[in-house]
């Protein structure tokens, strides 16, 4: 069997149909969309169509609410920096402890500049407490930025409800929806969400293309100023081939949204069940009952994630981990720490994320491979003895800090 790709929350394969619609924009319609000649006369139409395809997927009212950017990170930075530039007297930002670094690191930077950052905590299942959030909303808050779904656990936040609350308090609301768009249905025009970020490469479009949805009437200040592109809201020559590709990808995502929530979900559930039934001392992290259909994050106690990934890779299986070592940092994933997952489990978390390209046969192969991999590493672990963890693992092995 060919190698198995279960790392679709990291990035996805570009759909061949997406590649097909892109190619003419490299080889024939390569003119600058602003030019008046036949090398460019189809580009504006292509961009218009792409805008409508994105609009249909996220359910916004106008296609002019779609601003094409270079990636999810750019969309996130644009949204937050726009809100604080447009409202210079408001010096507070509300976000959560489990956001992607694209939000967290920007907020930490703004904190140094004098902003007050409120980071909403989560419980052990990764859920927010909305009463705490309600108390923080005030006319001092420039923007709320809360992810729609968590990239590690797939846990979904109640962004529609939170946007209503922000709106009632007169506060702008942004959501980083790069993991949610294309995996769960959405209808932005029925919500009070002012801004939303999405990223092409998470939904079978290429890397290097993103969108900022900007509700009509939302006060806005561009990040990149220059030419008139995107109605002056994001200067820079349009990445026409990728924009057209993203449009096609959005059309396909809408077509497959039911498949995603039935067939893809069934694969995820079978994998999760197969693993947790066979392997002792492992558990699913996040909110099991309110998750993306394609994601499961499983903590394997007493072993470390990078080692698991290396053995998985050897078996032809691609996934990712929240361990410190996979990122070169000193702490395991901030999402695991925020949920108070013990270190002995947080370092051993493995995220399997599916797409419509996966198959049940692949699921069976992974379910077959995992027990041996976990057992191999537990044999090496100082916390493990024979068939189970040593008694009182924390006391039995207490290394001198080095």
């Amino acid at each position: 069997m060919a190698d198995i790709y279960l790392d679709n929350n990291a990035t996805t394969k570009v759909d061949p149909a997406v590649v097909d619609v892109m190619i003419p924009y490299f080889l024939e319609q390569y003119g600058n969309p602003s030019s008046i000649h036949k090398f460019a006369d189809g580009v504006a139409r292509g961009l218009k169509q792409a805008r409508q395809q994105v609009q249909a997927l996220i359910g916004c009212e106008h296609d002019s609410e779609i601003i094409f950017t270079s990636c999810g990170t750019e969309s996130n930075s644009t949204a937050i920096l726009s809100a604080i530039k447009a409202q210079p007297d408001k010096k507070e930002i509300i976000t959560t402890v489990v956001e992607h670094p694209a939000i967290l690191n920007l907020c930490s930077y703004l904190e140094k500049e004098g902003y007050t950052i409120h980071r909403l905590p989560v419980d052990r299942a990764g859920r927010l407490k909305l009463d705490a959030y309600q108390r923080l909303l005030s006319d001092q808050v420039a923007i709320v930025s809360v992810m729609w779904a968590n990239n590690e656990t797939g846990t979904i936040f109640p962004v529609a409800e939170m946007a209503e609350m922000a709106n009632a308090a007169g506060v702008m609301f942004h959501t980083d929806a790069v993991q949610a768009v294309g995996k769960i249905p959405m209808m932005l025009q029925d919500t009070k969400i002012d801004m939303l970020s999405l990223s092409g490469h998470k939904l079978h479009a290429p890397k290097g293309i993103g969108v900022l949805y900007l509700r009509r009437g939302t006060r806005y200040r561009p990040l990149l100023r220059g030419g008139h592109q995107e109605r002056g809201r994001r200067a820079g020559t349009e990445n026409s081939a990728s924009i057209v590709g993203l449009g096609k990808a959005c059309e396909l995502a809408l077509e497959f949204i039911e498949y995603e929530n039935t067939k893809v979900k069934a694969m995820r559930d079978r994998l999760e069940q197969g693993i947790t039934e066979q392997i002792p001392h492992c558990f699913v992290t996040g909110d099991m009952y309110n998750r993306l259909p394609n994601t499961t994050d499983i903590a394997f106690e007493y072993i470390e994630g990078e080692s698991i990934l290396m053995l998985l890779n050897k078996a032809g299986i691609a996934a990712s981990s929240g361990s410190a070592c996979t990122s070169g940092s000193l702490e395991p994933s901030h999402v695991m720490r925020a949920m108070d997952i013990p270190y002995t489990a947080a370092h051993g978390t493995i995220r399997f994320s599916f797409s419509r390209y996966n198959t049940m046969a692949e699921v069976d192969k992974v379910v077959e491979a995992m027990p041996g991999i976990v057992a191999t590493l537990r044999k090496l672990s100082p916390y493990w003895s024979g068939d189970g963890p040593v008694a009182n693992p924390e006391q039995a092995f207490a290394p001198t800090y080095s």
């Binding site: 007493y302 470390e304 080692s307 361990s323 070592c325 940092s329 090496l380 100082p382």
Partner: protein, 302 residues
């Protein structure tokens, strides 16, 4: 994914001496579970000869932690305790054909487990003498704690100072923003303000003209001496020193003396010296501790 050497992969996929040694009479447990790397080393030591008869490891950690543990047990089996104490983390990294800078601490952990196990055998208490911080400079593997300590101890004020004293920031320069943040923090603690335009407190490392043409061995030795001389001031600021012992082809054998001797950072320092030599001399130079010369002789005899 990390760019691991084949040797690392070999030891990870087929670890040697995994598990605890039965009837072990020496145990060393080091690491930090919060960082995700911890190791228990068990040894069976012959009480008369002090020769390590058996060594076994149990490791919670990543690929390079497991590989470092495995290779460590292979290195020390058959050694006397005194010989084993001379094993450096660089020896472990070398046996693994190198480790990524973010992973050098895995080799340090191996060495510390060994020291802890030997201390345990001898009834001594082993104390870890360094704290590890977030990796700041990836070119020279210098962490935040090291930089902070140097800023405090030597009253450093600029990024250039930090580079002169620690080598951090002397390579690709991508970490200069992080170094400035450390300077801002430490200086604020001292009631001072960071000024990027401040005059450096330390004498910058003397600029030596890079050589272009191929060198004779004599020229090479002279040039190496010259570079070492230029680095000496920053080493002496740490209470250490370096001595050139021998040059064989493109390999320079050095003795790290004073505080550098046995310092956790000695391996990093050697890597830094090697980098500087290569920059100046425009050719590949390998810098190796003089203790490695014994192996060289053995090879020649064989």
């Amino acid at each position: 994914m990390w760019d691991y050497s084949d040797k690392v992969k070999e030891h990870f996929f087929n670890p040697k001496n995994a598990g605890a040694v039965v009837d072990a009479n020496a145990t060393g447990e080091v690491g930090s579970i919060s960082c995700g790397d911890a190791l228990r080393l068990t040894l069976k030591v012959d009480d008369n000869s002090e020769i390590i008869l058996e060594a076994g490891f149990q490791t919670f950690g990543c690929g390079s932690a497991i590989a470092s543990s495995s290779v460590l047990t292979e290195i020390i089996k058959g050694m006397t305790l005194d010989e084993a104490l001379k094993v450096t983390n660089q020896d472990i990294a070398d046996q693994l054909e190198g480790l990524p800078p973010e992973k050098m601490h895995c080799s340090v952990m191996g060495r510390e487990a060994l020291q802890a196990a030997i201390a345990n055998y001898r009834g001594e208490e082993w104390k870890d003498d360094h704290e590890e911080g977030a990796l700041i400079c990836k070119c020279f593997a210098i962490d935040a704690v090291m930089i902070e300590e140097m800023v405090w101890a030597n009253k450093l004020r600029t990024v250039e100072d930090v580079t002169n004293f620690t080598k951090a920031g002397g390579g690709c320069a991508a970490c200069h923003e992080d170094i400035e943040a450390i300077l801002e923090k430490v200086l604020a603690e001292k009631g001072e303000k960071f000024d990027p335009g401040a005059a450096p407190v330390s004498k910058p490392v003397e600029k030596i003209a890079a050589v272009k043409t191929p060198l004779t061995n004599l020229q090479r030795i002279k040039k190496i001496e010259q570079v070492l001389e230029s680095l000496r001031s920053s080493l002496m600021a740490d209470g250490g020193d370096v001595e050139l012992v021998e040059v064989v082809g493109n390999t320079a054998y050095v003795n790290m003396t004073g505080a550098c001797n046995g310092c956790q950072m000695a391996a990093m320092t050697i890597a830094g010296i090697q980098q500087r030599l290569m920059e100046v001399m425009g050719e590949f130079i390998k810098v190796v501790p003089a203790s490695e010369m014994a192996k060289l002789v053995n090879i020649e005899v064989a």
